[in-house]
Symmetry: C2
Subunit: 324 residues, 2 copies
């Protein structure tokens, strides 16, 4: 591969001059500039970002750690983070932790060795004091913020309230909440709090069911939902804590002969692609995923530049009424 | 951040000795080794992968370029590529092209500047002679192979045949094929060829409809499907060239009062998460995505080591019968 030296040799200029053209530094005559460009083209010279990164002691790369790439929520989130990074001329290194703590630590170390400009962590609940080995900003999305530089969340509490209110206003009197389980406490737990609050306010019967880790990892909640509906034949409304769970609730209802939305209504959470692809399409709480990704990038840039940033930012949610 | 020099100073050893411990080169006594580890821990020393990459003139990073991260097929593919890369201690740099040629070129150049070990290209149909600027292997997945180092495809032709045969065996006599359009020729075009071949063999009426680029980019085929079903009220079977299209066909049928599968049967393609989440769940052609990702990584490693690799590999598909 052609080097800076080869370009210099080809043009008869010094390496310093060629480097000044490449980096747009100092005054360079038009003729010289053209000569360098011509030689670069002829030799197929490619600037070496690795060398540049070494001298700057950082890269224009951001580490992104998620638990499950194929999960529709994270696929959407990754897509939005990539777009926000690309706009700022940053690249993303993507890691899939499968929610295993040891993988998260390994990836954080890889991020550090590779001198990323920062990390966006959307996974797990690693012993966060481990972050202290990182000398770069760590922004969490929908994860507990202790020890991270800053956290970005959606208004999970209000989301739970909106879901309960919608079901009650639609005539439901016996509600079930099915929550994802993540082992430890998470911002998403607030969805249940908001849901319970509104049910109590209106004197509506409600029950909260927690799925287990195995179901979350496999992404299969069907057996759990069927059991829940057998145990609670009086249920006429379900608030599922993800669209993935809501989609499977629709399937279980179809198999059990329960008409949705006539006999039982379902509200999901996230508003990702799957919500608009089921039959009936899912009424859900919209998480502002694009805005959350944008904000995470901005916070990362600000913190990286040494400026102070808010440690916790909560963005608003809204209900999207479809057919379920 | 602590450097190799700091570790050497702390231990009283030379930089060369410390480096030998880190790289496991030559004979080092146990006591010396322990001394270096202790100092590394004390100083919170992190090896600098950037420096290592510069001296090796390559990185253990692979560029992955896809058209749409959030599309369930690509989300699954990325997940499998990440897993295969991680097993080999490689990282992935992820780029979303939106199928824009200029973005693909920009990303290929970024891959080159960042000295990736190779590129896995799952996007578009860039003027492939542009690849020649890359001095690393380029493996395509489900894209036309010209000028790439190697291409990995699934057996699209057989997939089309399997879909048509299944519909005909299930009693359908008026078939529609809805294909994704991608502007130019693609391996997926073979799905239609296989479908038509079997329809002709059995003397079954068939018609092939191509969606347009706008529908592909927006991921919304509903208007198109509705029109197709109005134009062809006799249709009793649809072969959709993706599960995404099949899911929307189910929605359109529900709205039009067409019972699936009783009055009209639907077969998708890909077998990604969405196929098992719709109501009814989608009967589909399984693409061996995990095996394709595994193979792409192996080919990349082989080609990177200077060994000769097959230019085109086609992996088998199978039908997964669900409810549609």
């Amino acid at each position: 591969m052609a080097t800076l030296k080869d370009v210099a040799k080809e043009t008869g200029l010094t390496v310093t001059t060629v480097s000044r053209v490449l980096n747009n530094r100092g005054y360079i005559g038009e003729e010289t500039r053209q000569k360098v460009y011509d030689a670069m083209k002829k030799l197929n010279y490619q600037p070496n970002e690795v060398a540049r990164s070494l001298s700057k002691q950082t890269t224009n790369t951001i580490g992104v750690i998620v638990p499950h790439i194929r999960h529709p929520y994270f696929a959407e989130l990754i897509s939005c983070i990539e777009a926000a990074a690309n706009e700022r001329k940053y690249k993303i290194l993507l890691f899939n932790s499968g929610d295993r703590d040891e993988k998260e630590l390994e990836f954080l170390e890889m991020c550090s060795s590779n001198r990323v400009a920062g990390v966006i962590l959307c996974s797990g609940t690693v012993e966060v004091n481990q972050f202290e080995v990182l000398s770069v900003p760590v922004i969490t999305i929908e994860r507990n913020p202790e020890h991270a530089t800053a956290s970005v969340e959606c208004d999970n509490l209000e989301g739970g309230r909106l879901a309960a209110r919608h079901l009650i206003e639609s005539g439901c009197r016996n509600l079930i909440h099915i929550s994802g389980v993540y082992g430890t406490s998470m911002p998403a737990d607030q969805r249940e709090t908001g849901f319970v609050e509104v049910c109590e306010e209106h004197g509506i019967r409600h029950c909260e069911l927690k799925t287990n880790e195995m179901q979350y990892k496999e992404g299969d909640y069907r057996g759990f939902i069927e059991e829940a509906l057998r145990d609670h034949p009086e249920a006429d409304g379900i608030f599922a804590s993800s669209d993935l769970i809501a989609a499977q609730a629709i399937q279980v209802c179809a198999r059990m002969g329960i008409a949705v939305p006539e006999r039982l209504k379902i509200v999901g959470f996230d508003d990702v692609m799957i919500a608009s692809l089921t039959t009936p399409a899912i009424t859900t709480i919209h998480q502002p995923i694009r805005e959350m990704a944008e904000l995470a990038l901005s916070l990362l840039m600000e913190a990286g530049a040494g400026r102070s940033v808010p440690v916790r930012t909560v963005l608003p949610v809204r209900i999207v009424k479809r057919e379920s």
